[in-house]
Symmetry: C2
Subunit: 398 residues, 2 copies
DNA sequence: TCTATTAGTTGATGCGTGTAACTATATGAG
DNA sequence: CTCATATAGTTACACGCATCAACTAATAGA
């Protein structure tokens, strides 16, 4: 509705000229295209972005000046003047990434191309938010002090798996730690650099779009299965937050499994059958895992060919696919990216995909891919909020 | 990603200058604001849209010239020059609306403020698409010939309730008529004026945003319960279509009711317990309605205080709320608009809302409202596609 | 009647595009 | 070796838009 800004800064004077928006948009387009599509010449950039070569020349000049781009060796591929490939140089800018997990905290340094430069993990008991603060300060100090010299730290970007309201930077709810309405400003260290905080799965979505299997995609859904379950939806290139950051809840999708009853009063909710812990505990109950055995061990047993283990995993994968199939019908995304430890098992992915395709009206048209971030997913995802923002205005960021 | 257009017109030359986009955007903003927020003076428009008064003056001048706006009587409300209220004049532009229902076709004339100028209804047997064509031609001719003189007909805008792919103007599937992959170009009359075709519920969403209870809202979901069930999601002011227009499917959301089995192999799917026909038939089975009784009759019986009828209606409302509650968790909309005949019963709305709020993690924060289009909903909704498009570029539309 | 106040208009300015003519640097034919 | 051709990239200029600031218009109240 608003002509220039999206409804923010309602009262105050417009701070910037309209043409500035245009310039920024084109700069962002060029930077993002080079991030996602790799080295390109000016002429090709102009082609893809429907800009004139003149505009690209000027935009590129600015990006070269700030050192975000580098010119490669001219390549003569056909008649005519050789093209000069432009490459995004990620080496000089990075983000401190913080992830608050159920059992450990991860602090890392991630460059703007999504490459993890450093990562530290700290086991912790996060049940008391006030205790976490000191641990984070220490972790950040470690990562910062060992930071590669010459790397400019853009800021801190953090995530947690539960329900996060990014507008107030509050953890509304995170069950694995028992958190409710925890204001993150008091937990995250304040180093006077930009800080961002949002929900893990939304970070995965941004990261997959910038660096991962959803590179350059504008319309997809991410499903995360781990200590928590969650979804994130990207529409027209923008990740959806929903009211109070509440979008992405999938824990009470009905699976039809007659399992343990959920705290909500119903039975068979996805959240009580498909989390890492639910699967692990069921493996114990069925005698597949010895008491205290881990999910990784279970996946190993599956890989070794144990039929009972495989059956359990496929059963849960099918429950996941069956439950989220209704979301595919509602949302009809072009692509669904699944992420989380269990999804790394080929049996899980196959069973999930088959079931989802069978259940959804769209059928096999929906592309299903597995995230390739592996164990680094939380660190990359946490960094993605600030990196995404950086690429929306690379020149005058901060 | 694209700098100016949203990825369309990839190959061809840019047809318009960038500044044109800006101008169009501002014109559209002004027109839409006046449509939604009623008469406003230039100064107030400038305030709300963060534009300068100079820009508003020039934009308004263009809209006055084409006759889309009229100036009201100057009102002196305080010291200073009196403000001149600007009113959108809907009287001169209208859209031919066509809706293909399960049992009847509706053809109407709807002006750009959503007012239904004419409406004709034709009972039909739509099982053979080729038969519908002649009926539509006749209906359109009727509406057109009686059109108010001086009204400019912008084009034809049509909808059907099933699964529609608007990019190919194809009815992928519409169960009540048994249609599959019906190309609409061959069914809709071709009068040489613009034609649009999309899914009913998406039209309801656009209409509610422009003229209805979601006026000016940018983030909401519409749930339709009638001969078909469907949802539509508006995010950042744009209605979502999804892959192949497949978004909005809610017929296979599990309700937990042990009802008739669905064609999909499961039982208790929303589509077999909550449609008009499902409720009507169940009312018959329970002896509430005599054979052949209509849903309207059932609603009358409920209104008269019959407990069994009321129980049935509330049971189905709760199923609807319970099933769609998972969508509220996934999508977290600010507002849910419910529409369709059954939702007009206060008992239905109350039971639905209570259950949705109970089931969703967001709780009662989600605003639930009932559509106020009543019986005219399909006609207004069908017209909304073209009207929405008109307001995106009111000056140079066609 | 004069001042304060608010609405609306107008001409100059600025900004970032697009346009088109330019330079730069290659291939390949003769 | 030279010249036509082709493509990449640059630059001077013009255009269209919104902004800015100064203006006019029209009222209330002292």
């Amino acid at each position: 509705m608003n002509a220039r800004h999206s409804g923010f800064r309602s009262g105050d004077r417009p701070a910037l000229a309209v043409s500035d928006d245009l310039r920024r948009g084109n700069i962002a387009s060029v930077a993002r295209t080079l991030l996602v599509e790799g080295p390109l010449a000016r002429a090709e950039l102009a082609e893809r972005l429907s800009l004139t070569r003149a505009t690209v020349t000027r935009v590129v000049a600015q990006l070269l000046e700030v050192g975000l781009l580098t010119e490669g060796e001219a390549r003569r591929v056909t008649a005519g003047r050789p093209m000069i490939p432009l490459r995004l140089d990620p080496s000089a800018r990075a983000v401190i990434s913080i992830h608050l997990g159920a059992f450990e905290v991860r602090v890392g340094l991630v460059d703007i191309s999504g490459h993890v430069l450093r990562e530290e993990r700290f086991s912790y008991d996060g049940s008391r938010p006030e205790d976490v603060s000191a641990l984070l300060a220490h972790g950040v100090e470690q990562v910062r002090s060992h930071a590669v010299p010459g790397v400019r730290v853009l800021g801190m970007s953090a995530s947690i798996g539960g329900w996060v309201d990014p507008t107030s930077s509050t953890v509304v709810r995170y069950d694995p730690l028992g958190w409710q309405d925890v204001p993150l400003r008091e937990v995250l260290p304040d180093l006077g650099i930009p800080r961002r905080f949002d929900q893990l799965v939304r970070g995965v979505a941004l990261a997959e779009r910038m660096f991962g299997v959803a590179r350059g995609r504008e319309d997809f859904v991410v499903l995360w299965s781990g200590n928590i379950l969650g979804a994130a939806s990207v529409a027209r290139g923008v990740v959806q937050h929903g009211l109070r950051g509440g979008a992405g809840g999938i824990e009470h999708l009905p699976t039809g499994l007659p399992d343990d009853s959920c705290a909500c009063g119903r039975t068979g909710c996805l959240g009580v059958v498909a989390t890492d812990e639910a699967i692990r505990r069921e493996a114990e109950a069925r005698g597949i895992l010895r008491p205290g055995g881990s999910l990784s061990t279970l996946l190993g047993i599956v890989a070794d060919g144990d039929p009972a283990a495989r059956q359990l995993l496929e059963e849960r994968a099918e429950a996941f696919g069956s439950a989220t199939g209704v979301l595919a019908d509602f949302r009809a995304p072009e692509l669904i990216v699944v992420a989380g430890l269990v999804t790394t098992a080929p049996e899980y992915l196959a069973a999930f995909t088959a079931r989802l395709h069978a259940v959804s009206a769209l059928g096999a048209v929906v592309d299903v891919r597995r995230s390739e971030f592996g164990d680094l997913a939380p660190t990359i995802a946490s960094a993605a909020f600030l990196i995404d923002e950086y690429f929306r205005d690379p020149i005058s960021f901060e």
